[in-house]
Amino acid sequence: MSEREAGRSEDFGTLSAAEADRLLAAFGGDAHRDLAGLIGIGKTSASAGRTAGAGGNTSHDNTPDDPSTAAEAVGRVLAAASAPAQPHELHGYDSVRRAFDSGGGRTGTRSNRYAVALPLGRRTVVKLATLATTLTMTGVAVAAEANVLPQPIQHVAHQMLGGVGVPGPQPRRYQPTASGPGGLASSANTPQPSGSPGGRTTGDSAHGATPGSSPGQDSAFPDKVIALCRAFTSDDGGHHLSHAERGRLADLAGGESKIGDYCVRVLDSTDTGTPLDPTPSDGSSSTTKRNVSKAGQGKDRHHTSEPKDARRTSGPTRDGRGPDQPQTIRRSRH
């Protein structure tokens, strides 16, 4: 405090400890946010003033020096500081919501990417793609056994997987899991060894007719095709592909709706395709780890922002709280 302010403690700005207590009771925690009650604080301040200590309320009669004035003034400050939310304080939810929708993680670019590529929201897409995979697996089994492909289901699956245009975890997850049923399908009616996408194309035997039949020779895709597929599965869903390029891919894949699957195969076979999307849990846990480790570097490592941490400290602080107990417990943790 400046000397000027200290000097004023003798006259104007004196607030007794009891008044401060009352203000805190009014504003802190479960407050009764009632200004009329606040104004009443001054009435009891004279009797409470004796706890204020030296330099306290020596002159509290009717003058501006009356301690109630100080209490009132501070009360107004506190009331203004905790005034209702104002519109400008409620800007910026969108980016936070995107982070939440994407399942968390440290979003930044990643969430923006999804925002562009996946207007449905990531979780929805995850569900849809999982469903698509399931349906496709079913289709494979059915096709393998009955040699009849449920075309509409296949179509829907293609739409969902192909239309997304993002090499998300689902298409990639599809590949390994598909090898099982794919093997089934290939033993039934498709020639290629890896056969993963066989189920999707078996029914109409368009598969066998796939130009170049490149799926069979995994790593043999021309660079040009790989590049096209990278473009197709890029963040913008391949919208920047020219009509001709898209047509070329459609030719290679055996149809516009099969480009997605085709490119998944292509990129999987190169093994250097676009990186896997992290799952939500990956994102959040890495966030946690990062924060914890970051917190561990500073001396304030108590402030790790891990949810469990806040919960852990709540026990000792809330319950049998000896004056030193919480501190002791925290220290003992490291």
């Binding site: 405090m1 200290a6 004023r8 104007f12 700005g13 004196t14 607030l15 401060a20 805190l24 504003f27 802190g28 925690g29 479960d30 407050a31 946010r33 200004l35 003034a73 501070v74 107004r76 400050v77 506190l78 009331a79 203004a80 500081a81 905790s82 005034a83 209702p84 939310a85 104002q86 400008h88 304080e89 409620l90 800007h91 939810y93 936070v96 982070a99 939440f100 929708d101 399942g103 968390g104 440290r106 979003t107 994102g283 959040s284 966030t287 946690t288 924060n291 970051k294 917190a295 500073g298 304030d300 402030h303 922002s305 806040a310 919960r311 400290t313 602080t317 809330r318 709280r321 004056p323």
Partner: protein
């Protein structure tokens, strides 16, 4: 009108957020939205006093973390508020540690002019709030933090103690000391207004 506005008769909305938290933990965005709209203003005000002009950015970092971790949070809404302010404080301290940070940014409160698109009728209240935060930010840092957490964030003594990793008793002392110091600051401001720029609104304090 966003959730947080005009909830309750006076003051920042506190609300019962248990239902919202439960929904958010199940991945429902509406629940998370309610958490944000209810708690964000207090987070922002607290951070303004701690990191000044970086408050919005730090608040955003805080909420991005919350968005990522709320699904895994186990506890009630009261605990979540403590967790949130701990996180905010953690990010604020990180921000303050940045070497490029200029000294005058610390503890300053963004001026009202920095906030665009504020409707006219909110100007007075906003001005009052900004001034109040600016006054509180002039307290010694430990006192300012305690006052803000108690009064603006609405945390009780033990919750505040958990945010700050202090003992309850230290929080009590700092809170009372903070308010008494604040009275001096207000009086100082008031008399400065009386002498210097009377009539400019500095004199009568913040009004209501």
């Amino acid at each position: 009108v966003p959730y947080g506005l005009l909830k309750g008769r006076y003051g920042l909305a506190r609300g019962d957020l248990d239902a919202a938290l439960a929904a958010a933990r199940r991945g429902r965005e509406s629940g998370f939205a309610e958490l944000w709209h209810t708690l964000q203003p207090a987070v922002l005000r607290y951070l303004k006093a701690v990191v000044g002009n970086s408050a919005a950015e730090v608040a955003s970092q805080t909420w991005l973390q919350a968005a990522g971790e709320v699904r895994g949070y186990h506890g009630d809404a009261e605990g979540f508020r403590v967790w949130l302010f701990r996180a905010a404080r953690h990010h604020a301290l990180e921000e303050l540690r940045k070497p490029a940070r200029r000294a005058e940014d610390c503890g300053g409160v963004a001026s009202a002019a920095e906030w665009p698109d504020v409707p006219e009728n909110w100007a007075v209240e906003q001005e009052n709030t900004e001034r109040a935060l600016r006054l509180i930010a002039r307290l010694p840092k430990d006192q300012a933090e305690v006052v803000l957490l108690r009064v603006v964030a609405g945390l009780d003594v033990s919750q505040t103690a958990r945010v700050l990793d202090q003992r309850d008793e230290a929080v009590r002392v700092a809170a009372i000391g903070g308010l008494r110091t604040l009275a001096l600051i207000v009086a100082d401001e008031q008399s400065a207004g009386d002498v210097g720029d009377s009539g400019s609104g500095g004199g009568e304090g913040l009004g209501t």
